[in-house]
Amino acid sequence: MAQGRDGVGVSEDPARRGVPADSPGRPLPRGIHRESPVGEGVYLTKLDLAINWARKNSIWPLPFGTACCAIEFMGVVSSVFDLSRFGAEVVRFSPRQSDLLLVAGTVTYKQAPILRRIYEQMCEPKWVVAMGVCASSGGFYDNYCTLQGIDKVIPVDFYIAGCPPRPEAILQALLEIQKKIERNPAPR
């Protein structure tokens, strides 16, 4: 968004240059209202919505990468697919600093206590994505050492199918998580 007058966003589309971002015909984000008793350039909304809007566009993922899916996740953060377009660029490897746990790869019984602990170390609110079939269900490693899905030890918000999933699928999971964040009341 370029800056228009009085802090009103102006569309980047050259055909609409100079048209205020909130001109009739352009939808505003859900829950934000144009009818303002205060005057132009002021929007009214609920605090929940504002907080969730900020939260969903600044997800800090923790990639708990263990196997092949982690290599595909590297592809997602590299230039071609570029996760940062969705406001989830700040990949953090510390559970203390992240709010989205992205389990990419197989989790074995040996790894399970560690995954559980990493999840417990994350601050609320937090979300979990199981990337790929191994994390979702154990995949075709139906044997003595592989955990048959990480939901045996931690709650999961979103499962991504695929072995490994394509980068687009990971981006879609992120968008779904954003929708989920939008719908939830923000914790006080």
Binding site: F64, M74, S79, Y144, T146
Partner: protein, 542 residues
Amino acid sequence: MPVVRLARGAITEALRFLRDEPSYRFDMLTDLTVVDCGELRDGDRFDVVYLLHSLERGERLAIKSPVPEEDCWIETATGIYKNADWTEREAYDQYGVVFRDHPNLKRILNHKEFVGHPLRRDYDIYKGQWLSEVDDLEDELERRRRRDPTPRGGQADAMILNLGPSHPAAHGTLRNLVELEGETVRYCIPEIGYLHRGFEKSAETHEYNQVIPYTDRLNYCSCLINNVAYSRAVEALCGIEVTDRCKFIRVIITELSRIMDHLVCNAANLVDLGALTNYWYLFNLRERIYNVIESLTGARLTTSYTRIGGLWADITPDFEEAVRAVLKEVPKAVGDTLKLIARNKIFIDRTVGIGVIDAEEAISFGFTGPCLRATGYEYDLRKRHPYDHYDSFDFEIPSGHQGDTYDRVMVRFEEIRQSCRIVEQALDKMPSGPVNVEHPRIILPPKKQTYESIEGLVGHFKLIMHGVNPPVGEAYVATEAANGELGFFIVSDGGMKPYKCKVRPPCFHIYSALPRLVEGGMVADVVAILGSLNIIAGELDR
């Protein structure tokens, strides 16, 4: 490969003789494994198998030593080959064979609360076991302190630090417990097995062709090489020779995978050193190769492209053009990166003289591939034991000077260039003809035959219902993978599934040298050294 049978009490002496005797010089223990012969014969249940290799003379030798189930011990080889330490631990973990006088005989892949030995034929594959608490490794640390006390002494200022397993530089599943004195590493205790997914047990319950998807996920940075390596092993077991066109295609996909593997290894290594920009440069090229691989196999990463006796399909019409276009981009990506690092003071300070190992010790640890060549020892299976027409290509084997981190990085960059040369020559020389062998019990007949002739229908039915049945026997076939010698030791009982399928992963042996490489150095160098070894957990833990 010749096989010698020895009594279990003579192992130590025999191995030492074979290593030191000038006319033998078996200087590398390629792999050590156990075969559970309970269903194959009466008498002693286990065979402990040592695969030896004389790098100078290029000869291999297998030693087998029978061990009964009730009194399950054998002499250790830890004093002779340095990589016997971990390989024996794995054999103990998976089969329960006790190695007498082993300095640290504890489980390595399975967790400490695991009961039983999963690779024994009577262990139920579905029987998972929970772990309540992670091993604190205190016992190993204490043993190390007792065995080699540091001259500086004094435990008062020691700091214990866990590097991994959930740590970006630990690449997901490697855990190292380090004891520090200030910033100097006193002891390093690696723990592996966090990605032990039971490849070898799963291989025993799947048909030969069904194992191929599992091989994809061993070294998941270069899946195609694993496909090729496994298929070559089974083909050797069946005694079949694939067609020339198939060999050339395999060379091309192998070398493309090698390029991809080195790209991701060096990119990750440079990120760990703080040089993030190179990651974008190198990974963009990798994405371009992904597109080629995807148009060929239908998958970006997990390809499952080969079949026993050939390939899933011939190359696509636009394949050659696409590969040549990608090859044109390689020099730019590599060149851009080298411009940033080759004379960069920080990079040189962080890598030159760090993690040095000489050739002799590297061989004793079972180093192969770029890590061995970085020590200055020019050893490459593609040159020494050419397969798939590698002897008809003109390419060099890059080697380093002193086996430090810098050499390991640079050898990989040079190998990328050499691989490009091989791919170009293979494209130029590509013969026409079929890609699959014509063998009704190995390769599915064409659909037209299946529907129109009784022989085709029967061949199709037999292959679908009973799979490929190699004759009774065993084979060890080694392939030069991106990380070194990737070998498959397969035992067949004549059935449709491998009786045993042991992978010889290059990483496993290289990683066992980590304490030797990092102890006495700085803690920050652990990360640099680890990255330069290119440890891929899928292959390390299988």
